[in-house]
């Protein structure tokens, strides 16, 4: 994996990711999917926690952002992260599939969007975009 991809991220040989999802089942699955691909990862439960972890100085190569979350949803969190200058790859991962909803999420600053449930092949296609 690149030490510093075009989407930013720490200088490290290992890719890093942040899972942003309020659902514990999805957090567990996404964590395992990322682990399986050798990607160091952490999980937070809403958009505000995602923003806060970046404010603490951490950055990630990849952020998997759910849309519907309490406190701060994925659209708001994505917008805020981009305003903060976060250039990480942000992939929206949600069950929403209506064009209007996906467009609003994309316009907030996503690099990619995948419909849940997330699978190995969907995750690999996201990662290819980081390395591409």
């Amino acid at each position: 994996m690149a030490a510093q991809g075009r989407h930013g991220g720490r200088k490290s040989n290992k890719m890093t990711a942040l899972v942003v999802d309020d659902n514990m089942v999805n957090q567990t699955i996404h964590h395992r999917l990322l682990d399986n691909l050798g990607i160091e990862n952490e999980a937070v439960s809403n958009g505000k926690e995602a923003v806060d972890i970046h404010c603490s100085g951490k950055t990630f190569d990849l952020i998997l952002m759910d849309m519907d979350m309490p406190v701060m949803n994925g659209i708001e969190a994505t917008r805020k992260l981009r305003e903060m200058g976060i250039r990480s790859m942000i992939a929206g991962v949600s069950t929403r599939s209506m064009e209007r909803e996906v467009q609003e999420f994309m316009e907030a600053g996503l690099d990619d969007y995948q419909v849940k449930p997330l699978t190995v092949s969907k995750l690999i296609s996201i990662i290819h975009k980081i390395n591409g």
Binding site: V25, N26, R32, V120
Partner: protein
């Protein structure tokens, strides 16, 4: 052909879960994440699902006791429940969730209540079948690889 009788029984149970439409491809995705370092991953996720979703079912039950129905709230709960169900491959439960949400969107309270009763039945059946499946799985020992249902 599996020689170990426990594993044969497990294969039969597994095939039945797919053939009868209780599970879909997403369950296979979970199985593929299971390995020597995470030998009980599928059971752990499924256990987490039933624990987590019990709370959502209770929320929906309580919301259905309040009149008039708050269809937005009901839809919100079911959206979360459907998401979890989808993530473990709970095909029938997911189908009832989808139907429930359609009734919410059309403001059909009777439809919501009827579908919710069916959903709870499917949920309870799935739970029972998966508990039995994992009990046999524990006795059979680790399976070699996940395989897609034919």
């Amino acid at each position: 052909m599996e020689r170990n009788p426990m594993r044969r029984q497990l294969q039969v149970m597994r095939k039945s879960l797919f053939d009868q439409g209780y599970l879909d491809e997403q369950f296979v995705q979970l199985e593929e994440l299971q390995d020597d370092a995470n030998p009980n991953f599928v059971e752990e996720v499924v256990t987490l699902y039933f624990r987590d979703s019990a709370r959502l079912i209770l929320n929906i039950e309580q919301a259905l006791e309040r009149k008039p129905f708050d269809f937005n709230k009901l839809d919100g709960y079911m959206h979360q429940f459907k998401g979890s169900s989808s993530s473990i491959g709970a095909k029938r439960v997911k189908a009832e969730s989808t139907l429930f949400r359609e009734y919410c969107k059309s403001g059909n309270g009777e439809g919501c209540m009827r579908t919710f009763q069916q959903l709870k039945k499917e949920y309870a059946t799935l739970r029972k079948k998966l508990e039995a499946y994992f009990q046999v799985a524990r006795q059979a020992g680790p399976m070699e690889t996940a395989c897609r249902p034919k």
